[in-house]
Structures are given as structure tokens and as C-alpha cells.
């Protein structure tokens, strides 16, 4: 479709937004390496029953920003997508409770780490031909800390992108989005980008709100679309994980033992000795 035709049609219908939400382990959880792994399963992390998972915080900001855009452009639609095992449906539900319109699950049942390029390829497979005007991701997943999937997804789909977006102003009728990216030392790089585009969201761009009761009730009854098994195969991987380990012991400081009172007194001693008290 020629570009000007594309623009006219999307002003009339609002913008179509895809927001990618990853489920991560809470930062206070213990992370255990799976010692039972075999050659076929490859060593990765073992999750005990009862482990606390939640939505990646950067993705909460992305969902909230999508809601703000929908508020400013009537008729806009937000699809929230998560890739992973069955448990990630809870994170999709959270996005629906926050106010997303539709939930999409890309099911992947594996005990291995799913590499960023594979994840981006599968998400691209879903997004291709669905004519999103804007795709939002977080800047980084708190668990794998790759800072990759958004940019890879944009690259695979051939979309322009901006990372670490801390402010955006979408101008749907002009077919552009103005963004400010957070760069070194608190400076901001300002850009104009043609739609369709992808942005990765930095925390602090907004203040994620609490789900409203009506959204919670609506989300509960809602179907989550499940993508057909992906046609992407392992052979797409461009890297192999060769080892997983705990950081070497012995590089940590001195643990102060005892009762809370004993610890408090030991700490006061240290502060006295360092002449700050």
C-alpha cells in the first residue's frame, strides 16, 4: 500500500498498537541453576513451584504509554503480547487489567533459555501483516538484561526505531512520532520518526496506574488469542549458551552476623572507626 494511502486510512481508525510484555522473576527471588539438566535440555534456571513472577517493570511503563496514546487518539486499539510458557498468560492478564484491549500469547514450552533473536523472530511472525502503526517494548528485560528484542524486532520487520524513550508525542495525522531518548548524563536526544515505528520505553516516561475494577472484571472474562506454533526453528539461533554459573564466591564483603542488636552495634563500631559518627 503506498504510504499516503496508509496514512489516510489510519487517521480514520485510530492507531493500532502492539505492546510486548515479558514475564520475569521478581528481583527478590533466589535464582537456582538447574543441576539436573542433560545434553538435550541444556543447563538453565530451575523455577521452584511458588516462585514469584511478575511483569517486567519497563513493560508496565510501555503498557501505560499505550493507554495514554489510546486516550489521545480515539479508536486506537492495543494488543498486548507475551511469549513464553503457559504461566506468562498471567502477565497478559495483567496488561488487560491495566486496560489493553486484546491479549496474545505465543506459546513456547522449553526448559532452555530462549535467545533474543528467536524471541524477536517469533514476535515478528505474529506482527507481520497485522499493520501495527506503533510497537512498544520495554528498554530491557530485568531478568535477561539483553536490551535487544525491541531493536531486533524492528530490524526484522524493517521498521524505524528509537530506544530508551522517556517522552513521546505521536502525531498520527502527520504519520510521525516525536520522541525524546534518554542518553548519557541525563541528556535527551530528540527525534522525529515516520510511522509505522517501534519504540523501547524507559522507566519514568509516565506513572503506571492501578487497574480499575471495571477493567479487572472485563479482563477476567476475556479470551487470550494463542498464536499457532511458530515456524521459527532452533537453527535460527546465532549463538549458543556454553555455560551458566553463579558469580564466583569470595568477592563479596564481610557479612555481619548476630542478632539485629548485635549487628547494629557492630555497624556503629564500623562507623565510629571510620570517623563519620
Amino acid at each position: 500500500m503506498p504510504y499516503h494511502v496508509y496514512m489516510k486510512s489510519h487517521v480514520a481508525r485510530g492507531v493500532r498498537i502492539l505492546v510486548c510484555v515479558k514475564q520475569v522473576l521478581d528481583s527478590a527471588e533466589t535464582v537456582s541453576i538447574d543441576e539436573t539438566a542433560t545434553d538435550e535440555t541444556a543447563t538453565w534456571i530451575r523455577f521452584e513451584p511458588g516462585t514469584v513472577f511478575r511483569m517486567n517493570r519497563f513493560d508496565e511503563f510501555a503498557v501505560q504509554e499505550a493507554l495514554r496514546i489510546r486516550e489521545s487518539i480515539p479508536g486506537s486499539v492495543i494488543d498486548a503480547l507475551s511469549l513464553g510458557p503457559d504461566r506468562v498468560k498471567k502477565t497478559i492478564l495483567k496488561a488487560l487489567e491495566m486496560g489493553a484491549d486484546n491479549g496474545v500469547h505465543i506459546p513456547v514450552e522449553t526448559k532452555k533459555y530462549i535467545l533474543p533473536y528467536m524471541r524477536a523472530s517469533m514476535i515478528a511472525e505474529y506482527a507481520q501483516n497485522r499493520h501495527y502503526d506503533l510497537i512498544l517494548t520495554g528498554i530491557m528485560a530485568e531478568d535477561d538484561m539483553e536490551c535487544q528484542v525491541g531493536q531486533l524486532l524492528a530490524g526484522i520487520l524493517g521498521l524505524p526505531y528509537a530506544t530508551s524513550v522517556i517522552y513521546q508525542d505521536i502525531e498520527a495525522n502527520k504519520g510521525t512520532i516525536y520522541v525524546e531518548k534518554e542518553i548519557e548524563e541525563g541528556r535527551r536526544e530528540c527525534m522525529d520518526i515516520d510511522l509505522p515505528a517501534l519504540i523501547t520505553v524507559q522507566s519514568g516516561i509516565n506513572t503506571p496506574g492501578y487497574p480499575s475494577l471495571s477493567n479487572v472484571l472485563r479482563a477476567r472474562g476475556q479470551q487470550i488469542e494463542v498464536m499457532e506454533p511458530s515456524r521459527c526453528a532452533d537453527r535460527m539461533d546465532r549463538e549458543v549458551i556454553t555455560g551458566v554459573s553463579y558469580p564466583s564466591a569470595g568477592v563479596s564483603g564481610t557479612f555481619i552476623d548476630g542478632s539485629p542488636q548485635e549487628k547494629a552495634n557492630a555497624l556503629l563500631d564500623i562507623l565510629h572507626k571510620n570517623a563519620v559518627l
Binding site: E146, V240, G253, F255
Partner: protein, 321 residues
């Protein structure tokens, strides 16, 4: 590794970021392949940056010049770098894991059909790269398969390049004229000043999300009040929640501090926070999770709930004096 290696220089407003030199050191450690530094820019700034790079490293520099390259733009960088390297050729492209680095690397990797590995902290003998996951609780080794590879190097993991070379590298300046089509970088806005008196503080007491609520900041403030010259810091997470203003934020996108004593309360120890406070004299960390990464750089580690521990500490202090 003896494939050709390219180091992409990162700069803001005519100044080479020091992390660029760390990426050069990384490339030197990685292999003996032919090395080239690529720098993109405009005007006289470009030639002085190119000369600086070749003099400081002894490595050949390819400098690409165009008016529209006065500011970083991923679309232009991807196109130009792909033009220099060529598609499908085996090559290793290194850059620092700074904002421009993680912006560019994955996009460039897609265009080059390359592997992309980010935030590299170490190289192992089997040519795997080590990076952290789960906030530093796990280390993962990963090895690129055959073909080109794009790598980003974690700031601080390598020393800058300081052994002065015997001779400068060559400098080639080339012009291009293919402005980006779908993106326009407009300007760089300066940061808003955020002086919290951190530089005068002897002790900084910092709050993380682990304090649980804005009300519990009282404990942090009470603890800070014990010291004659102190200030209250915070993680980005705490500022995002609105518990403290962003001027309190410490870390790679906030303030960099190095007080005599840094007390981290309910802070997990994400690398982005650590890089803003790791040079503090004495680091004391209080966290309920004995595996928290903050304990790996702390001098003294206290496994306690901050909200009960600080009141006890203040009680004991009163008892002593």
C-alpha cells in the same frame, strides 16, 4: 579470533566517550585480527576526533563525514557501517554498551545477519563471552556461531586504552550523502541540573524499592540525620514510584557519587545503579536477600529488613551516647 575487527566510536557533541577506548581494549584482548576504528560525524569535529582516536590507539581510523551526521542516528549508522563491512562477511564489530551502543547493535546485527551479544563482561578461553543476568545473580557464557558478530562491552569491565602506541594509525576521511529516510535526529537537549549536595556529603544513605513504601523513607532520613554531612540518594526504581525526586537518583542515568560511606538500603545492586556509586569508600548494604548483587560490592553486608533494622540501629545509637 583473527577475523577483521571494527570498533565503532561513540561520541556526544564532539567528545569521544571514554567507553569507546574500553571497547578498543576489549578488541585487543579478543584477537589479533586486523582492526579498524569507524567514526561518523561532521565538520572539523570529525577530523579532530579521528586524529585523537588514531593517536591514542595506533589503530587505523575510517572517518565518515556528512552534515547530517552531526548527531547520532541509528538508520544512518546502520547503512554506512554495513556499506563499509559488506554483507555476509565474517567480521567482528565492537562498541561500548552505552545508549548509542545498545541502540545500534541489535539493529545492525539484523542488517548484517550477525549474532548480537550485549553487555559483555569477560572473555573465556573457549571464545565464549560472559554476561550477567538476573540482576547479577547469574553469569552466562555464550558463544557466537560462525558468521559476523556484533558485540557491546559493559562499561567499566575493561580499562581504557592507555599504553601510548609507538605510531598513530592512518586516518581516512570519506564523505557520504544519503541522509536517513524515515528518522530525523533533531537536537540534543541538555540535562536539567540536579545538584543534591552529593559532592559535599561524607555519607550517602540510599533507598531502594526494598523500603516498601514512601512512608518508610522516614527511616532513611533518620539514619542520614545521624551524620553531620550526609545526603539521601535513591535508585531509579524509587524515583519512578515518585517516592523521591529524580535529582536523588544515583546511577548511570543519574548522579555519580563517591562518598566516604555509602549505605544502600533495600537496593538489589543492578549494574546501572552500581556504576554510579561503586567508587565510594566504604559500602554498607542492608537487604533481606542474602544473594542480592549489592552484597558483591559491599564492604559490609547486613541481611535484615531495613524497616526494622534502622529503628534498632537508632535505638542502639541512643543507648551508646
Amino acid at each position: 579470533m583473527n577475523t577483521p575487527m571494527y570498533i565503532i566510536a561513540m561520541h556526544i557533541q564532539g567528545k569521544i566517550l571514554p567507553e569507546t577506548y574500553e571497547a578498543v581494549s576489549f578488541a585487543q584482548d579478543l584477537g589479533s585480527g586486523q582492526k579498524t576504528i569507524i567514526v561518523l560525524g561532521s565538520g572539523s569535529q570529525l577530523s579532530s576526533m579521528a586524529n585523537e582516536l588514531s593517536e591514542n590507539t595506533g589503530i587505523d581510523v575510517v572517518a565518515i563525514k556528512a552534515q547530517y551526521l552531526n548527531l547520532y542516528n541509528a538508520e544512518s549508522y546502520k547503512k554506512i557501517i554495513k556499506g563499509i563491512i559488506g554483507h555476509g562477511r565474517s567480521a567482528c564489530i565492537c562498541m561500548p554498551h552505552v545508549s548509542m551502543g545498545y541502540d545500534l547493535a541489535p539493529g545492525l546485527a539484523v542488517d548484517l545477519d550477525a549474532a548480537c551479544i550485549t553487555g559483555i563482561e569477560a572473555i573465556s578461553p573457549d571464545a565464549s563471552f560472559t554476561r550477567s543476568m538476573f540482576g547479577g545473580k547469574i553469569r552466562v557464557q555464550t558463544r557466537p556461531l560462525d558468521g559476523p558478530v556484533v558485540l557491546t562491552v559493559l562499561p567499566g569491565a575493561w580499562k581504557g586504552f592507555d599504553n601510548a602506541p609507538l605510531a598513530s594509525g592512518s586516518v581516512d576521511i570519506l564523505s557520504v550523502d544519503e541522509p536517513p529516510l524515515t528518522t530525523r535526529t533533531l537536537e540534543i537537549k541538555a540535562s536539567t541540573p540536579k545538584d543534591m549536595g552529593f559532592s559535599d556529603a561524607e555519607v550517602i544513605v540510599s533507598a531502594g524499592r526494598g523500603i516498601g513504601s514512601a512512608e518508610n523513607l522516614l527511616h532513611i532520613e533518620d539514619l542520614a540525620a545521624l551524620f553531620p554531612r550526609s545526603a539521601v540518594g535513591a535508585t531509579r526504581g524509587v524515583c519512578d514510584l515518585g517516592w523521591l525526586g529524580y535529582k536523588h537518583q544515583i546511577g548511570v542515568t543519574g548522579n555519580t557519587v563517591a562518598p566516604g560511606v555509602y549505605i544502600a538500603c533495600g537496593i538489589s545492586g543492578a549494574v546501572q545503579h552500581l556504576s554510579g556509586m561503586r567508587h565510594s569508600g566504604l559500602i554498607i548494604a542492608i537487604n533481606t536477600d542474602a544473594h542480592a548483587s549489592i552484597f558483591r560490592i559491599a564492604t559490609y553486608c547486613i541481611v535484615e529488613d531495613v524497616n526494622t533494622f534502622i529503628p534498632i540501629l537508632l535505638e542502639e545509637y541512643k543507648g551508646q551516647s
